[in-house]
Structure formats: structure tokens, C-alpha cells
């Protein structure tokens, strides 16, 4: 038998405190789409970054066409025909599409017009609708991804590694991407598709490699497996179902109210346009939408981080307009931001120190003008236990915790800060299924206490699992507010992509006035 196009043998990678990959071996054939399936933190990205030369394995080898190769840098990888599209794109926003594509592949005097033509031809060949002269910063995320793909094609990649490529796409865009992947493979190339979404795996892959805890836990042909088997391999156990929903009593008071809230964004990003809705006590109000359609702006407007261009926000009948961020925290607004590392945590400080991030002015943490460290540590410890945060102790530096444990930390803190309203933006992004389940239960538990919850997510399954009512946000405009039972995945997918379902959209002001 011919040797496979690419083979990994016994690859082990250790980071300072964790085993990222342990004796990982698998192969990739030419013309094959391989899905690398696993929860976050399972080691999928790490093994691919080793293949792409970003990380170096501690042991094991990589064979290409049967020959052992050393891949010391992405440059080596590209020379061998391996390209990787990262979760976070590596494009220069101020440069044009063409300039980005030829970056690193052109030198000396550059004939931009000739390259532009080349890029246009390449784009047409693969059915991408892209203007090679457009500036990357003006392009939506979905198109930026195509630029990344074109860059790989331009470098004549034979193996395309995509790290969670559909995370930033609408369902419709995702379908198109899958079609491209199939087509690329038909031409004799290979694709590795890193994902934790079973549906995508079943739609696109020829072969599925399941990873868990840094090890390979299954190497199966799609034809001979099903979603149930895959999910068991991936998680290693069955997930208990979410607890049954509570009915919201008719007497529940309206607490958060937005009236015609608009935000102008100076940076050309998405603002908000006349957003109105109201949340009642004990209600989870879900907001679906592709990321970057105004979700973060909405959260930040409520928290007081962004000024309103018009409209008003009130909590428990109190107008928030004149209140600053700290006052609003004081009123009981908790906020779990989408980007926990950037907006929610101080990575270099300890777990205990992060627990008092929003309440450091509070006298309860002080004893004689000094911080009451034993008390803070005790508080952190109680949260470590209550949320089963895996950490050596309250003095552990947050940077060293896994993403799931960092998120639990933020959730634990905000649930305590938000005595009235909790805002969750992408509460489970990047978490493994166990942690997702935990966070979901925490959200439901807080609702049961009568808090109002605003839950924003790009994961439709999450929106459907949690929300009592669902609004769809597209380009800063609410496309409609629905009871959960009124929506189907198809319908919501269309709304998320900006298509209106005219007749079926109930008048939202009426809805919120009820």
C-alpha cells in the first residue's frame, strides 16, 4: 500500500503544566476531508499547530509521503504545502485583499496589477465573490475568511487546516464553505476540519478522528458511524439533560426595559438601531445572531460602557442614563462578556484577586484600610468549590487555568454581582461540553431565583435550550421577537442572515408592551 500523504506518529506535546497531546498518531490521505472532532481543550488545535510549525513536538515524528520531515516554522509547513486558517485571522486590516494574499510571497518591486489579476482568477476558479482591491477592514468576517482561504490557495496548499471555520459564519455561509471544502478535496487535496460540532462533521468529513484529553479516541469512517457514537467518544460520558423549564408567572414584573436604543459607531462597526425590548423577572431573553451584529454593543450599552445616541434604558423603573458603570454594577447588573480574557479577567492576577474585580471599592473586602486577604481567599475558595473550578487554590494565577475554568470564574463572580440582571454574552464559547452544561445550569438556577437574564449566543442550540423568548439581531436591528415555540432553525437562520419573514414577524413593540 502506498504511504499516506501525511502521517503523524506518536506525537507528544507538553506545555509547562498540561499535557496537550499524548502519543497522537493518525494519517491523512490525498483527496480526503478529515474532521478533527473534540471538545475544547482536547488538543485538536495543538496537534494542528505542531503540523503547521507553530509549536514543536516534544517527541514523535511527522511523515509526508512516507518521508520524515521536520517542520520548524510555518514557513517550512507552507513549503511542504500545508496551510492553516486560524480561528483568529492573521490579516492586515488596512491592506487590500491582494496585498494580504501576497504578503510573504512577493518581494522586490511588486507588480500589484498582475497579482490582482491572479487573485481575481483564483477567486473565480473557486467561486468566491471577492474584490481583490477591497480593504480587508471593510469586509465582513465571512469574507475575510475567504481571503484567508485564498491566501492558502495562492500558496498552492495541498493540505488545508481549518480551525473552527464555521464559528463566525451564518448557517447559509457555512453550507457554502462545506461545498468549497468538498470541491477542494475532489481536486486531490486534503482538508483537516477542526470542530466540535457533530452536524458539520457528518456533513463534510470522509473520516473522523475524535480527540479527548489530548489523545486520539477514535478514527472512524463517516459511513460507518453516527452522531451518537461520536458524541459518546468525544465526551466520554452521557450528559444529563437540562432541568425542566419553569413557567414565568404572569405576575412577574418587568425589570429591564430598552426603548429605541441606538448607538453610532465611529469605527464603521455595527452600532444599534432603534432596539426595544423588555425583560421580566425570572425570564431568559435570548438574542440570536451571527457575531459582530451589535451584540457586544448592546451589552455594553446596558452596562454603561457606551453612550447612547438616542433611546433610553431603565432597570426596575429607574432610568440608567445618568449612571456610570460602577453605579450600574451597584444596582445589580452582572455581565459575563464574550471575550473573557480581554474584558472579564486580569490574566496575570490570581483567582482570588479576580473575584473582587468589580467590588474592589466595597468595604466588605477591607479591614483597616487594607485588603482583608483571608476573607477574599475564603470567598474565592467557596466559589472554587461551588463551581468545581479546577485550580490549585485561590492564589493560582488565572492565566494558568483552562478556558472552561476561567469562564466558570467569571460566571461565579458575575452571578454574585448581578443581583437583579445577568447579561451573558456567549456564555459557553470555547468551553467543553461538561463546562457548557455547568454554565447552563447556573444560568437556569439564577433565573429560578427571579433574576432577569439576557442571554446572547451565536449557538442556536444554546439559545433554544435556555431562552423563554428569542430576538434576532442583524446589523444592529432586531429582526423580531419570538416565543421559543414560534421559531424553527431554518426560520432563525434566515433572520440571522438578514432576510425578513414579513408576515410572521409580530410587532415587537406590542410584544414588549405586554
Amino acid at each position: 500500500m502506498d504511504s499516506p500523504y501525511l502521517e503523524l506518529r506518536d506525537v507528544t506535546k507538553l506545555f509547562a503544566k498540561v499535557v496537550a497531546n499524548r502519543h497522537v498518531s493518525f494519517s491523512i490521505q490525498s483527496g480526503e476531508v478529515v474532521a478533527l472532532l473534540g471538545e475544547n481543550g482536547a488538543g485538536k488545535s495543538t496537534i494542528m499547530k505542531i503540523l503547521y510549525g507553530l509549536y514543536h513536538a516534544d517527541s514523535g515524528e511527522i511523515l509526508i509521503n512516507g518521508v520524515a520531515r521536520k517542520i520548524a516554522s510555518p514557513k517550512d509547513a507552507m513549503a511542504l504545502g500545508i496551510a492553516m486558517i486560524q480561528q483568529h485571522f492573521s490579516l492586515v486590516p488596512a491592506h487590500s485583499v491582494t496585498e494580504n494574499i501576497i504578503l510573504g510571497n512577493a518581494s522586490g518591486r511588486i507588480n500589484l496589477a498582475a497579482y490582482q489579476k491572479q487573485v481575481r482568477e483564483l477567486a473565480t476558479e473557486y467561486g468566491f465573490d471577492i474584490d481583490p482591491a477591497a480593504l480587508v477592514r471593510d469586509l465582513p468576517v465571512g469574507v475575510q475568511q475567504k481571503v484567508e482561504i485564498l491566501k492558502a490557495l495562492f500558496q498552492k496548499a495541498r493540505l488545508l487546516i481549518m480551525d473552527e471555520p464555521t464559528a463566525v459564519l451564518t448557517p447559509q455561509e457555512a453550507v457554502k464553505l462545506m461545498a468549497f471544502v468538498r470541491r477542494f478535496a475532489t481536486a486531490g487535496h486534503s482538508v483537516v476540519f477542526i470542530t466540535h460540532k457533530l452536524k458539520e462533521v457528518m456533513a463534510v468529513a470522509d473520516r473522523i478522528i475524535v480527540m479527548r484529553n489530548g489523545e486520539v479516541h477514535g478514527d472512524l469512517l463517516r459511513a460507518s458511524t453516527d452522531e451518537k457514537e461520536l458524541s459518546t467518544l468525544m465526551i466520554g460520558r452521557e450528559l444529563p439533560p437540562l432541568p425542566k423549564e419553569l413557567a414565568i408567572p404572569a405576575s412577574a414584573k418587568e425589570m429591564l426595559r430598552l426603548d429605541g436604543v441606538s448607538i453610532r459607531d465611529a469605527h464603521g462597526g455595527c452600532g444599534l438601531e432603534e432596539v426595544s425590548f423588555a425583560i421580566r423577572e425570572g425570564e431568559i431573553f435570548g438574542i440570536a445572531g451571527v457575531s459582530g451584529n451589535g451584540q457586544q454593543e448592546l451589552c455594553e450599552a446596558i452596562c454603561g460602557f457606551r453612550p447612547l445616541a438616542s433611546g433610553s434604558i431603565s432597570l426596575d423603573g429607574r432610568d440608567l442614563a445618568r449612571l456610570g458603570i460602577r453605579d450600574r454594577i451597584g444596582l445589580g447588573i452582572g455581565y459575563v462578556p464574550a471575550d473573557r480574557q480581554k474584558d472579564g479577567l486580569v490574566m496575570e492576577l490570581s483567582l482570588a484577586e479576580n473575584m473582587i474585580l468589580k467590588s474592589s471599592y466595597d468595604a466588605k473586602w477591607k479591614q483597616w484600610r487594607l485588603l482583608d486577604r483571608p476573607r477574599i481567599a475564603q470567598y474565592a475558595n467557596s466559589k472554587i468549590q461551588a463551581y468545581s473550578i479546577k485550580a490549585p487554590g485561590p492564589d493560582a494565577v488565572v492565566k494558568e487555568l483552562s478556558g472552561g475554568n476561567q469562564q466558570k470564574l467569571v460566571v461565579a463572580r458575575e452571578v454574585d454581582n448581578g443581583t437583579r440582571l445577568l447579561i451573558f454574552d456567549q456564555p459557553t464559547r470555547g468551553l467543553d461540553l461538561g463546562a457548557i452544561d455547568y454554565v447552563h445550569k447556573a444560568i437556569l438556577a439564577e433565573r429560578a431565583k427571579g433574576k432577569g437574564v439576557l442571554c446572547i449566543s451565536t449557538e442556536l442550540s444554546e439559545i433554544f435550550a435556555l431562552s423563554d423568548r428569542i430576538a434576532v439581531l442583524y446589523k444592529g436591528v432586531i429582526q423580531g421577537i419570538f416565543k421559543k415555540t414560534e421559531l424553527t432553525t431554518e426560520k432563525i437562520g434566515l433572520l440571522m442572515a438578514g432576510y425578513a419573514i414579513d408576515a410572521e414577524i409580530p410587532n415587537m413593540t406590542k410584544e414588549s408592551a405586554k
Binding site: A16, V18, V19, I325, I329, L345, V346, L349, S360
Partner: protein, 354 residues
């Protein structure tokens, strides 16, 4: 943790040794015997109690200017203007000392001088924080340029209101002896300013790691976005941090005017600010580490002076040595990081093998 601490001491020690060895190679170029020169350096420092005490005299203002850089550094702010804040402190201390004369007894007088200098330097520094908070101006540039303004202000007063009675040189008259910082050891120049500097280093450590203000300074330093979203107003932190930094540098002004010279002389100690930055870096901005780093620099300064007088070796070799030591100490961070990672990996590998 023990292994990390051991690495810290070993790597710092080797960094200092390497710095000394590297500057020895320059002595070879001069045709001097480095071993003889260093022997002279070592013996000259510990020659007598007066010289030994002088190490701490030199270290005193360096501790304070080191802190003046380190504290804002913890908030990711660069205070390049400690030199200017030092001059403002010295100026205020001199003005108050001369105005007081013999009017107050020693202790309250000295306390008044200290408070006045620290408030003046603090306000001078707070201005940098204020323009940063208000106009988002670059504190690096503003603080750096403010030094020249401070220098000009000091020169102005030395030529006018504060000029000596003889009106000959741009310097003040000698302060009333009761306003001099008391000497700790008889027969040396070591004054109470050293104790003050050490206390303020401890104070800075407590402030940073044991108070909520220090906590917020560090939060803003590490992640200003998260700080803002948490209701922490970075602008207030900028102003209060720069106020404290200015006050610390100004205290160095007091220790030099009221502790060492007992008068104010135009353009004295022109490198204290820059050396403070080096010391803060050497100590990784740790207030306690700064005490030791400043003593090391103090020893090099004293030794360098004596060596220059006795052997014909230019005293600037000491500055080169200081530079080399700093470079090697910075490099040692990376070595330590590498060692710590490797150790953690070893532990992991062992646990896997079992």
C-alpha cells in the same frame, strides 16, 4: 516555589558577575589589570566605616527614584520624569527650609519640609497623570519633557528668590542645622533619609499588594479594558499613581538637600532619575528588590569614585558596569522562565511515565 526562588538568587548573582566580567574586558583594552582594579574596588568600598556608610547614603535617593519609576510601571505607565520630580522636591524642601530658618524646632520643621516637598513633587507628577487622563497624552513624553521644565524652574529660583546671600553662585545658603536630617552613625554621612527610603519602599509594597488602591493600580496596568468594564476609572488611577510617584521622587530631593548637601546647588545629581529606572528594572519593579538593587548601585558608585581617584581608571567604567549588569539581569528573566518551564515539564513527564 523553592526552586524558583533559588533560580532568582542564582541567576541574579550570575548576572551581576557576568556584568563585572564583561566590563573587565574593557579594562583590558585600557591596558589595566582588571583583577587588580577589582581588588582595589572591593577593598576601597570596605576601607572604613565612612566609606561603607556612604554606600547607603548613595543608595537612599536611588531607592526613591527607583520606586518613582516602579509604582507607575505597575499600572503600565512610564514615569521617565523622576529627575524633574526630584528637582521640584529639592526646590520645595529648600524653599521651606530657608523660610523656616530657626523658627520651628527640629522634628516638626523637618516633617514640614518633607510634607511640603512631597506635596509639591506629587502635584508636579499628578499633572502628568492628569493630562494623560484628560487628553490621553503620552505620559512617557510628558514626564520626560517635564524634567526640563523642572530644571528650568529650579534654575530660575536659584538665580532669584533662593539665591545665596552673597549673590555669587546659583545656589542657596546653608540650611539651619536643626533642619538637617539627623545622622544615624557618628562620624559618617549616613542620615535618617535612608531609613525613610526603606520605610517608603515597604509602604509602596504594602500599597501595591495589600490595599485596594494598589490592587486597582495593578488591574489597570494589566488589563485597562477589564478595569473600565469593572467600573474602575483609569483616569483616577493615572492621577493618583503619578501623584505618589512624584511624591516619592520628591522625597529623594529632601534626602539630598536636607540630608547630604544641606543646601541646594544648581543641576546637582543629574542622573538620579535615569539610575532609578535602571534600578527598578534590575529589581523587576519589586519595591523590596529595589532596596537591594539601589544598595548595589550605591556600592558601585562609591567604589567607582575611590577607584577613579586612586588608580587612574576612569570612573565611567562603573557606569559601563552598571549597564552590563542591567542587561544581564534582564536576560536572566528569560533564563529563569526557561528553567521554570523545563522543570514543570519534567514533573509532567515523570508523572506520565509512572
Amino acid at each position: 516555589m523553592n526552586a524558583n526562588l533559588r533560580d532568582l538568587f542564582l541567576s541574579t548573582f550570575f548576572a551581576v558577575v557576568l556584568g563585572i566580567v564583561a566590563s573587565a574586558s574593557l579594562l583590558l583594552f585600557l591596558g589595566k589589570n582588571p583583577i587588580a582594579a577589582y581588588t582595589l574596588l572591593a577593598t576601597s568600598i570596605i576601607r572604613d566605616s565612612y566609606t561603607i556608610a556612604d554606600i547607603f547614603v548613595k543608595a537612599t535617593p536611588l531607592i526613591l527614584t527607583g520606586l518613582a519609576f516602579a509604582l507607575p510601571f505597575k499600572a503600565s505607565l512610564f514615569n521617565i520624569g523622576a529627575q524633574g520630580q526630584f528637582y521640584i522636591g529639592a526646590l520645595a524642601a529648600s524653599a521651606v527650609s530657608l523660610a523656616l530658618g530657626e523658627r520651628l524646632p527640629g522634628l516638626p520643621g523637618i516633617l514640614l519640609v518633607i510634607v511640603a516637598a512631597m506635596v509639591a513633587g506629587g502635584l508636579w507628577g499628578a499633572f502628568i497623570g492628569w493630562v494623560k487622563a484628560k487628553f490621553n497624552s503620552n505620559e512617557f513624553l510628558i514626564s520626560m519633557m517635564s524634567t526640563y521644565v523642572a530644571l528650568a524652574v529650579m534654575n530660575y529660583f536659584l538665580r532669584t528668590a533662593l539665591m545665596e546671600a552673597k549673590h555669587e553662585y546659583p545656589q542657596t545658603d546653608t540650611f539651619a542645622p536643626r533642619l538637617w536630617l539627623p545622622t544615624i552613625f557618628e562620624g559618617t554621612r549616613l542620615h535618617a533619609g535612608f531609613i525613610l527610603a526603606v520605610l517608603f519602599a515597604l509602604f509602596t509594597w504594602v500599597l501595591l499588594y495589600r490595599t485596594d488602591l494598589g490592587y486597582r493600580i495593578r488591574v489597570v496596568g494589566h488589563n485597562p479594558t477589564a478595569a473600565r468594564l469593572s467600573g474602575i476609572e483609569a483616569s483616577r488611577i493615572y492621577i493618583s499613581t503619578f501623584f505618589l510617584a512624584g511624591a516619592l521622587a520628591a522625597l529623594a530631593g529632601v534626602t539630598e538637600t536636607n540630608g547630604v548637601q544641606h543646601m541646594l546647588v544648581q543641576g546637582f545629581n543629574p542622573t538620579l532619575g535615569a539610575e532609578g529606572i535602571g534600578i527598578a528594572i534590575l529589581a523587576n519593579a519589586n519595591p523590596i528588590g529595589i532596596i537591594f538593587a539601589a544598595i548595589l548601585f550605591g556600592a558601585l558608585k562609591v567604589g567607582g569614585n575611590v577607584m577613579g581617584q586612586m588608580s587612574g581608571i576612569p570612573a565611567s567604567i562603573i557606569e559601563i558596569m552598571e549597564g552590563f549588569v542591567m542587561i544581564f539581569v534582564i536576560l536572566s528573566y528569560f533564563v529563569r522562565n526557561f528553567l521554570a518551564t523545563r522543570r514543570a515539564k519534567r514533573v509532567l513527564q515523570k508523572s506520565l511515565a509512572v
